[in-house]
Each structure stands twice: as structure tokens, then as C-alpha cells.
Symmetry: none
Subunit: 208 residues, 2 copies
DNA sequence: TTTTAAACCCCATTTTTATGGGGGATGGCA
DNA sequence: TGCCATCCCCCATAAAAATGGGGTTTAAAA
């Protein structure tokens, strides 16, 4: 019996999928919650689900962060993304975080079931659209990132990522702290962020 | 009408697949050859196939080298691997060379047809076993770190990575800002860092 | 030539972080 | 039972960061 959990904020989808799985031979869905927080709270360590279907856009913590947390605590639990998002960044973040599959929400229930079966036999469920993105990533046809940042601004971003303070960046670049401030103000405007933290995240996620 | 070519040295498989496609509505297979050399020789530039099913183990040039040659001369032609090989090296070499899909030879004819359809609608056919290897490639190169952080501390790290301030983290977790402070102090001690920036960097680099 | 983008510098103010303390409350384990 | 880890909360202070403004210079573009 394959024990499936669902983390999904749309109650309709949650219910339909849960009912479907419970009706299918060999599947059982006892957990269907709307957030990662709720999932972790209700989790019974003595009765872990085999597979978790995870959405990305959730109230509170995102599903991608959810993967990290769940896999960290229970590495044996398989996590399959089930979401509407199909942009490369979310896909790769999910896979790197430890997802074992990636299905789009328009996947028919029947294919979700066969996906689960292939997962159990050492495969990975993946929507063709997603597979395409992944393949494109390999063949290097990735659209080049055109960063709007100037060379100096990029250098400062590197400093931020290295965990340096304004003063340390100033010393490293042989400019005044005031100039560092100036550049950072402009960086924030260009990237539409309001803190070092966001710049560092964007940078390390390849969004700059 | 989707024009399919087959490059495959096993004449049985070649014939079965060719016949199947010709019998299917909307598909046509006029070219079924046993080597890349033969394929290139018989190729009519005015009547290019839409898709080529390519084996890897072939007399003469390998199918992977074949991808490169074909894509170089006719970039618009889609190439789908159809082979028994499932080792990571051949998979990645194929995808990097420009393959648009990767199916194992045990794939039922019916699924080969749906694979072609998803290819035509912007997807990529990929056997679950292959998808698994590809996914493992993403998540696999991350050595499992045994984090010294407690669950709550991990949750706070997630908040920091999301670019939240102490107050926002407190709200999300329904605890006091002072408690957030308390946890962060402990996190810094455990990780030997002295700023949010360093925590975020470590986290996104998988060092936590 | 005027304009524009990029780099440089300074000042002032408010908010947020970092760091040091001080308490409690659990719940598991020796 | 006391110990330990984990979690919860409060205080105070110094440092750093975020945001607004004000400028100059230079080199390339219009």
C-alpha cells in the first residue's frame, strides 16, 4: 500500500486527488493539507508517507523550501512537485532541493497514478513540458541572462554574497563606504528589493 | 503529417516501428535505415523528417555523434534517442549533443506515439527511468549535511533566505521577535558566522 | 554640443541587526 | 531526581544597513 500525502492550498484539487487515490487499488491518502507548516505539524514519524505531492505556491513557506525541510528530516520520503509553475528556475530549484518528480497540474489523474507507479519502480514522473526545459538546460540553449547591473554593481553584489559589510567591500574595492552605499541603493532599485538578503538570494539562485 | 525517420541497426525493431507509425493517423515513416552514414546519404534536404529516432549502438558512427552531425546541418530536425542504454554518461552526452528526448527500447509503441505528440506540442518524451537519472544528477551532487540546527532554527534559516526581516519571520512563525533573535543568536554560534548574509550564503550553497 | 550613464563622494535619519545579558517552560533521559 | 536540549520571552546598546537627499567627473552617445 503506497501512502500518499498532499500539500496543496486549493481545496478542490486536494480533495479530488485524495479521493481518487483512495479509490485506487494499492493507494491510500490520509494526509491532505494546505501548507508545509501544517504538514510538518501533523506528520507522524512512525507512519511517514511514501510520497508527498507538493505544490509550490502555498500560504507561508513555499513548497520548494518545504522540500528542503522534509528531506532534511526524512530523507526517505519521496517528493513529487504538482504545480502550475513551469519556469526553469522553479523547476531546477525544486530538483536541486530533492524533488523526485515534477508534474504540472493539468496532468490527468490517470497519468498521476502511472507516475506514482513508475516512481515506485525506480523511475521519476515528469511532465513532457518539464522534461523539455530540463533537456534544454543541458544542450546549453538557455537564454542568456542579461543582467541590468553595471560591472561595479556586479562586483558589489559579489561582495554581498561573500558576506562582507559595506566597509569591507569599500576596502576591497578601494572606494569610499559612501560609494558602496550609492551603488547598493541603485542595485536595490534595479532589482526591486530592499535588503542585502534578497540580493544574495537572487544572486545565488542565478536570477541576476 | 509528422514525418519520422528511424536510424536503428536492428531490422526487426526498425520494421515494427516503421509499420506502426505508417498505420497511425498523422504519422508517416519513409526513412528507416541502419546507420548514421546511410541516413545522411539518403537525406533529401527538400523533404527533411520532422523527427528522427536514433539508436546509439550503430555500425559505424555512434548515434551520439550522429546527433551532432544532423543538428549541425539541420538544426530544426528533432532527434529522439531510442536505445537500450541507460547509463548516465550516454544520457548526458546525448542531451548535451542536442537530443530532444530519450526513450528506452522497452517503451510500448503506444507510448512512443504519445511521446511524439508531446514533442510536437513543445514537450519532450522521456522514459521515467531516464528522468530519474537526470533528476539524480541535479540533487545527487549534494553531499548530505548533518545540520546541527534544530527544526525551529532551520525554519528561521528558511525565513532569512526568503529575505524576511526578524519581524516578518516572527509573524510567519507566530512567535515573538525576541524569540527570533534568540534563535538567530544560537544559529550564528553554531555556524560560526556573524551576519544574515553569511547564513543565507551557506544555506543556498548547501553547506547547512 | 547637450545628454546620459556610470562612477565617485558626503550628510542625515530611521530601521534593522548583532551581541551581550537576564529569566522561564517544557520533555526526555540518565 | 537533576541535567540537558529546545524553545519561549524581555532588556540594553552599539553597529550596520536602508532610504532620502545633495553634489562632481568622465567618457560615450545622440
Amino acid at each position: 500500500m503506497i501512502n500518499v500525502a498532499i500539500v496543496e492550498d486549493d481545496s478542490d484539487i486536494r480533495q479530488v486527488l485524495c479521493d481518487f487515490l483512495n479509490a485506487e487499488e494499492g493507494f491510500s491518502c490520509q494526509t491532505a493539507v494546505e501548507s508545509v507548516e501544517q504538514f510538518l505539524e501533523e506528520l507522524d514519524p512512525d507512519n511517514l508517507p511514501t510520497v508527498v505531492f507538493m505544490d509550490i505556491g502555498l500560504p507561508g513557506m513555499s513548497g520548494i523550501d518545504g522540500i528542503r525541510l522534509v528531506k532534511q528530516r526524512h530523507p526517505s520520503v519521496e517528493i513529487v512537485m504538482l504545480t502550475v509553475y513551469h519556469d526553469s528556475q522553479k523547476i531546477f530549484n525544486s530538483l536541486c532541493a530533492g524533488a523526485s518528480g515534477y508534474l504540472l497540474k493539468n496532468t490527468p489523474l490517470e497519468e498521476i497514478r502511472t507516475g506514482l507507479e513508475s516512481l515506485m519502480s525506480g523511475g521519476a514522473p515528469m511532465s513532457p513540458q518539464i522534461a523539455r526545459k530540463v533537456i534544454t538546460h543541458f544542450s546549453g540553449n538557455q537564454p542568456r541572462k542579461t543582467t541590468p547591473l553595471t560591472p561595479k554593481e556586479q562586483e558589489i553584489v559579489v561582495g554581498l554574497v561573500d558576506g562582507l559589510s559595506y566597509k569591507m567591500i569599500a576596502d576591497r574595492m578601494n572606494i569610499s563606504v559612501e560609494t558602496v552605499r550609492f551603488h547598493i541603493k541603485n542595485i536595490y532599485q534595479k532589482l526591486h528589493v530592499h535588503s542585502k538578503a534578497e540580493v544574495i538570494s537572487k544572486s545565488l539562485r542565478g536570477e541576476i
